[in-house]
């Protein structure tokens, strides 16, 4: 009995020492998954995205010169403001989009820490953008894991101006 007391105690201590894995295995990047297309099934031949008031070299968020019907781009949202502005250059034409959102800091895990989580609240767009469809207003650290055919928003550009 007393050997059992001591033996099991050593086993418990050894098990306890094996349980903590101090690594982060979860996504902590919060990105709004956005799909872009031009109305009327027109191709996008070139596309460049940067943030408003982010004009320095290296501030381009996305650039692509391959031709396709749609582009799928993850976009970061502002951490301190309640709206985020983007400038899109699609087929040589420039458009702007402001995304209104509410943000909270959400806990991921002990080892991953926190990540911002947004709820999309609305948009303000230039005339070259026909429409915007919200598929999922919740933008959080899990959004990046959406399947290739899923996204937070779809943005449709006007075919006449692009």
């Amino acid at each position: 009995m007393r050997f059992g007391l001591i033996g099991f105690l050593l086993l418990l201590l050894s098990l306890e020492s094996c349980t903590d894995e101090n690594r982060c295995y979860d996504s902590v990047d919060t990105l709004m998954i956005s799909s872009f297309s031009v109305s009327g099934f027109k191709n996008i031949n070139s596309m460049r995205i940067r943030g408003i008031n982010r004009n320095d070299v290296g501030n381009t968020l996305f650039t692509d010169s391959t031709t396709s019907l749609t582009k799928r781009v993850p976009l970061p949202l502002s951490l301190s403001a309640d709206s985020t502005g983007f400038i899109f250059t699609v087929n040589g034409k420039i458009d702007t989009l402001f995304v209104r959102h509410k943000m909270i800091i959400s806990f991921i895990s002990e080892y991953c820490g926190f990540a911002p989580a947004y709820t999309l609240a609305g948009f303000r767009r230039s005339k070259g953008i026909d429409s915007i469809r919200i598929k999922d207003a919740k933008v959080n650290s899990q959004s990046i894991l959406k399947s290739i055919n899923d996204q937070n928003i779809n943005i449709y550009f006007n075919s006449a101006s692009h």
Partner: protein, 262 residues
């Protein structure tokens, strides 16, 4: 406070002295309430992440020889500093439950036992997070989440052993599976550690305790508690307490009813 400590010390000395005297009268089985301390709580800083400290007291009292209604209480402080946040959590907790011996006591002097039991736990605590650093394309933001009072309820299944290493001094351990029932909701951060419950991140938290306890031998009997059997017509713990001085028992000679039955 000093008076309380002195009173406890005097009680320990008196009961130890009486226990030594009692060892000569081997025909008696001494039982009584046990008060102990969970020494594993003092090992937490060495085996746990973050700066986790605390204490825990445990008390039980025998009921019908095989059942041990148990009360446990403690406090815990947790201070976890990471590169992107600083989390603090502290509070008090209590647990109520019963342990049940599942082995047969071999003799009147045998108090070693293996037990299973359950607990209901409740904790009141506060949590606060500072220096939360978030960075992305748009810059860096440092935020904090203010102090938030919280509470938690949970259940526990317990398995363990206790052995009497010295007269009235017990050493034991228990392994515990814990089941969170209700935790106050915080939309920003659900606590990943709860005083008395442990870490909540990976489903069912497991924990263990290592207890050093002292028994106040204030009850005596000549009967060895029968092991608890499942499905019996009569609960073994429901046998009448045998008082050797009572009329029905007939004084100190002859042993208890259990022995006579054999």
């Amino acid at each position: 406070m000093i008076r309380i400590l002195i009173s406890i010390l005097i009680a320990l000395v008196i009961s130890s002295t009486s226990a030594l005297a009692q060892t000569k009268a081997e025909a008696w089985r001494y039982e009584g309430p046990r008060i102990g301390v969970d020494i594993s709580r003092f090992l937490l800083p060495a085996i746990s992440t973050g700066n986790r400290t605390g204490w825990e007291l445990q008390a039980d009292i025998p009921y019908k020889g095989n059942l041990f209604p148990t009360f446990e209480t403690g406090m815990q402080w947790f201070d976890d500093k990471h590169s992107s946040f600083h989390y603090k959590n502290s509070g008090a907790y209590g647990r109520l439950g019963v342990d049940m011996s599942i082995v047969k006591f071999e003799s009147l002097k045998d108090h070693d036992f293996v037990f299973v039991g359950f607990r209901y736990g409740y904790a009141m605590f506060n949590q606060q997070t500072d220096s939360i650093v978030s960075s992305n394309y748009w810059g860096t933001k440092v935020g904090s989440l203010s102090n938030h009072p919280m509470s938690a309820h949970w259940g526990e299944l317990v398995f363990g052993m206790k052995g009497e290493l010295l007269p009235n001094f017990f050493f034991g351990w228990s392994l515990r599976a814990k089941f969170p029932l209700v935790v106050t909701n915080d939309q920003n951060i659900q606590p990943y550690i709860i005083p008395g419950l442990g870490k909540t991140g990976n489903g069912t938290p497991f924990d263990f305790s290592i207890t050093m306890s002292y028994r106040f031998p204030i009850f005596k009997t000549k009967k060895i508690p029968k092991p608890i059997t499942v499905g019996g017509a009569k609960h073994p713990g429901l046998n009448e307490d045998i008082d050797p001085n009572s009329q029905g028992f007939g004084g100190s000679g002859g042993g208890g009813g259990y022995n006579r039955g054999r």
